[in-house]
């Protein structure tokens, strides 16, 4: 947890904090007055709900008679043993989407940072503009794109891609909709901008003279990338993968709109437990397990990826 919380803000380039003392102001209470309203808001509507959720997860009872805290920790065990396939699926789908985002997003971020020239602003707008249009409408558009018998599925079939993905269990027969492939495709699409922007910020900070130097030292482009560019872009890679993986794991929109009952992720289970089945203790326990799992994975990942400035 400590490592996570020390991380710099992910989306914006963090300027190094100035060591010089800020100008003196009258009144030592001023910062507390500035903080009070916002921090109070976060404490009441972010931290306190977590406490309520923790207490809900150890309650027993029924909707009619009301719930009481009975420290019934077995709910956690029951939830985990019943819904572990959905948990595994969430990690698998979100992990695949994150890797695809990295593979797809890196060239585009590189293109904007080093090669775009006067097109840079236009490409930037085209990356950001979808942010401002409803992501639900765009996700629904994938239904049209991946429709059975449509051009995309037809092309994939002719190229025998679907044979391979079917063999991998990612598709079924000659359709893509309602299969894991469609869900991963939607997740990749939805979170791609969250990968591109941090990658771009960290690439943009690289001095182009380093590329020239590597070139002067007879490094081939691939070597330059492997030994110079990529290591220097690690902060972007780490924050980009986190910004993609975390929300993708909890997502239920893609699995619902593009998938089937066989592609339900843990988010779908939490949503239906909370809003349809109204089994609050199980839902709260599931959501706590999800949170804990993500915190553990993220902490391990940040430690292992070894970017000093993120830890």
């Amino acid at each position: 947890m400590a490592t996570l919380t020390e991380a710099p803000p992910p989306l914006t380039p963090a300027a190094p904090e100035k060591k010089t003392k800020p100008p003196r102001r009258r009144g030592r209470l001023v910062p507390y007055w500035l903080l009070l309203p916002g921090i109070l808001w976060l404490l009441v509507f972010f931290a306190l709900p977590m406490v309520y959720q923790a207490s809900t997860s150890v309650q027993t009872g029924s909707l009619e008679e009301g719930y009481k805290v009975t420290w019934h920790f077995a709910t956690y065990w029951d939830a985990l043993s019943e819904y572990y396939p959905q948990f595994l699926r969430s990690v698998l789908y979100a992990g695949s989407a994150t890797i695809l985002c990295l593979l797809l997003g890196y060239p585009l971020a590189y293109l904007i940072a080093f090669r775009a020239g006067r097109w840079r602003n236009l490409i930037m707008i085209l990356v950001i503009a979808p942010f401002f249009t409803s992501f639900l409408i765009r996700t629904l558009a994938w239904k049209t794109i991946l429709a059975d018998g449509g051009p995309v599925v037809g092309a994939l079939n002719t190229l025998h891609v679907l044979d391979v993905t079917s063999w991998l269990g990612m598709t079924q027969g000659d359709r893509v909709l309602a299969t894991p492939l469609a869900v991963v495709c939607g997740l990749t699409y939805n979170f791609l901008p969250f990968m591109i922007l941090p990658l771009y910020t960290s690439l943009e900070r690289i001095d182009p003279r380093l590329h020239e130097a590597a070139n002067d030292l007879y490094a081939r482009p691939v070597t330059t990338f492997r030994r110079v560019t990529f290591p220097l872009s690690m902060p972007g890679v780490v924050s980009g993968t986190l910004l993609t993986f975390i929300p993708a794991t909890g997502d239920y929109v893609n699995a619902d709109l593009l998938g089937s009952t066989d592609t339900r992720m843990v988010g779908n289970v939490i949503q239906s437990q909370f809003l349809r089945i109204l089994d609050y203790p199980t839902a709260a326990a599931l959501s706590f397990i999800l949170m804990a799992a993500i915190l553990v994975m993220v902490t391990v990942y940040i430690r292992r990826s070894g970017t000093e400035d993120l830890v």
């Binding site: 803000p9 903080l35 509507f45 585009l108 942010f131 558009a141 791609l192 997502d251």
Partner: protein
Amino acid sequence: MAVVNWLKRHFVVIAGLVTLAYLLLPNVVVTVFSFNRPKGRFNYEWQEFSTDAWRDPCGVSGLCGSLSVSLQIAFWATLGATLLGTLIAFALVRYRFRARGAINSLIFLPMAMPEVVMAASLLTLFLNMGAQLGFWTILIAHIMFCLSFVVTAVKARVMSMDPRLEQAAQDLYAGPVQTFLRVTLPIAAPGIAAGALLAFALSFDDFIITNFNAGSTVTFPMFVWGSAQRGTPVQINVIGTAMFVVAVLFVLASMAVGNRRKKQKA
């Protein structure tokens, strides 16, 4: 061989443009299908060209009502989050005080939490308090999750600001209020604007947190979600296209303003 060499040399450009195409393909589909005249309930298959939906975007019951609910919530959420977030950002950058680390964590955590966890925990709070789910609970939730993003955007800008500019203003006998209004605020303004814009986009487009805390109130994303089950009207594509065009124009306009400022300085 020539082709292979050419592909090798331009690998980055080709791969980048492929990704860009992948990003924009749904927008193209949404635009094209806003001119469709579908048979039956679903607008997933191309039938024939028609501008009916564009001439009557509010023709579907509930659509424009939900748009107006979303706009209202986004407006107030942006206002609230920008105000609270700017204050926090200034406190964090300008002052050294105790509990700074803890406060940084409290601001970072909402951004590192899956939305469904926040949504569910907030719902347990509201259920326990017996709050009536609706406009106000959505607004509270939106201010909560937009806040962190505003703080980060404003902080980045204020951090890169030269404190000597304010000292200079004070040396020239500007009072604290005058210094703030005439020096500090104008310099921080782009950061605040970026934070506000981000908050607006996040709030307007949020589905997961709203889905949990909306009760029977229908925002635009909720309307789209509901219609996906019942059958999507073409008008939804019209709104989607219009939003994309407005977003692009807005960014272009703000960039034009920025360029003119740069020229004036030069």
